[in-house]
């Protein structure tokens, strides 16, 4: 701090600039930290373009002698990558659409409609948020097994179509909306579905996008459920498919690195494109 300057005499902007002067320390700390956060990704890209010998060399080769783009081609030849990619995309899209549909409908009814048993139903739905997922996993497995849906898209997708968190999120959003719009539409003779679809749903778009992003993220990355309901690697989504590579093909590191990067790419690109919305959405939903 520059004690010599009488602080009171400084304008707000000058004081800010003075604070800005010591931002050097902040930039050093945040810069080094950011580099540590990004390093595994950078290292993964480098190794995905190396040979196996280069990956295993001591000291580590910081840059491959020749870029092995071929590793990316081999991902599609050696692994059921396209099958797994397709499964991941389908699971994510189906779950996201279903959750938006079911959670907005229920969230709206719980926020704005009156019916008997509403409080009890809502309490029941929200109570599952307190329970760790292992508690229902075994029995969900038995249900899916009973329906003959093991190793199928139906089995992979099923429990994740419904979300108590999504319902809570949407209910909170609808609770905050002005009642006047609905009343006006009701006087005009609109039925509840029209009111919901034409008036309330468009207003809820920002929260719906938070729900969509969190559902997609969770669905794309989920490991335990796919691991439990699928046995054959061609039926698995990418998250579980990658995990099966640990044992047998560990020697082909560049291939595994390339496959991992390709598996993460869609969600990382989506995140970078929508980062402001994702970060603000998660931050605010965490604080409400």
């Amino acid at each position: 701090m520059t004690e010599a300057i009488p602080v009171r005499a400084m304008s707000r902007r000058r004081r800010q600039r003075r604070r800005g002067g010591s931002h050097v320390v902040a930039h050093i700390v945040l810069g080094v930290g950011g580099l540590i956060m990004a390093f595994p990704f950078i290292w993964q890209i480098i190794m995905s373009l190396s040979t196996t010998a280069e990956v295993q060399s001591v000291p580590p080769t910081l840059w491959p002698a020749e870029l092995q783009w071929d590793n990316y081609v081999r991902v599609f030849e050696r692994l059921p990558f396209l099958d797994q990619l397709q499964t991941s995309v389908l699971i994510t899209v189906i779950r996201t659409v279903a959750q938006i549909l079911f959670c907005t409908l229920a969230g709206y009814a719980f926020a704005r409609m009156r019916f008997r048993g509403r409080a009890i139903l809502l309490a029941l739905v929200l109570s599952i948020l307190m329970v760790p997922s292992q508690v229902y996993l075994l029995s969900q497995y038995q249900i899916v097994q009973g329906l003959g849906l093991l190793d199928s898209l139906g089995g992979l997708v099923l429990p994740g179509l419904f979300s108590a968190f999504g319902t809570y999120l949407m209910r909170t959003a609808f609770l905050a909306m002005p009642v006047e719009l609905e009343e006006a539409a009701r006087l005009d003779g609109a039925n509840p579905f029209t009111i919901f679809w034409r008036i309330m749903l468009p207003l809820a778009k920002p929260t719906i996008s938070v729900l969509a992003i969190t559902t997609a993220l969770w669905s794309w990355n989920e490991l335990l459920w796919p691991l439990v309901v699928t046995t054959f690697s061609e039926h698995m989504p990418l998250s579980a498919g990658l995990a099966t590579l640990i044992g047998d093909r560990t020697t082909d590191f560049p291939l595994v690195m390339a496959a991992s990067l390709l598996a993460m790419a869609p969600i990382l690109i989506l995140f970078i494109l929508l980062q402001r919305r994702v970060i603000n959405g998660l931050a605010s939903s965490g604080l409400k």
């Binding site: 930290g33 993964q44 309490a123 292992q134 229902y136 029995s139 968190f165 995140f271 980062q275």
Partner: protein, 339 residues
Amino acid sequence: MTTDARRTVPPASSLRGGAGRGRAAAPSGPDDLDPTRPTGSDSPRSDKRRRGDGFWPWLFVAPLVLGVVVFYLWPIVQTAWISLTETGPFGGSTFSGIVNYLTLFADPQLYLSLVNTIIYTLIVLLGVPISVYLASLLNLPGLRFASLYRVLFFLPYVAMPTAVAMVWRIIFNGDYGMLNYLLSLVGIQGPYWISTPGFSIVAVAIVGLWSSLGFSLIVLSAGLKNIPPELYEAADLDGASRWRQFRSITVPLLSPTIFFVTIVTVISSFQLFDLLYAILGSSNPVLPRSMSLVYFFYREGFVNNDKGFAAAIAMVIFLIIGLVTVLQFRFQRKWVKGD
């Protein structure tokens, strides 16, 4: 994070659920508290509204409520029941009372897994003070590249755990890993991280810390935005140092958010599975000594196929998480200010 959820989001959701449940326990929603609103179905004033809503609410909630009852609520009851049965060699099950629980509490694997889970949680919790400090830097007025830093720190949180685990496996490799190479530069002979019991859970926890830091950072910096800047200006005028401001303004006013982040971190750490599975692998010889509670549950239920025993583990995890949450809320009163 459910894990997965991940982690992502599911972990955080449990806590938000906590808040939600509280709400639901009260006569749900502020609109219900309106004393002028008629509540009886025979009230003439409610007629118009009721006729308006009619069967519609049921149509709206039916798909979700049915799904939640069939796939979540019923399974919770079912698991409690399964934990009291024994799976026969041909898949049938018979009632066995608390035998599974007695076997479980006599099994040293339970305590090993619990200790590993606690070690993991404690290391990941180091991320909370780190992210408080980083968040206070990120929120400095007029800081350039703030959104770039935010993205960098958040990237590991959105990345697929099984995919990032692959590169960490190589970084931790005892012979040619980057970490041991860096340690050797300062004269330290690094261990075989992944295949040495004790070190393996530390290795996984370092990755856990790396991947969860972003979430805490984002939530904390959103919390910081709610602190009025006038407080800092006044402190500046009084000549308070940056450190003094951090201690006397930032930390106390941020304590509810710090508390939130701590709970979310603990709940999600107790559900450690994805990273451990992906980093150690399913055939690692040190696995029995490096397992987490959820991995123990997974192995018994789906590898060894002992559903009753696994259900008992699930119930124990449920109880532990519940207990830890209650304790934290108790503890909260001691240090959270202005909640």
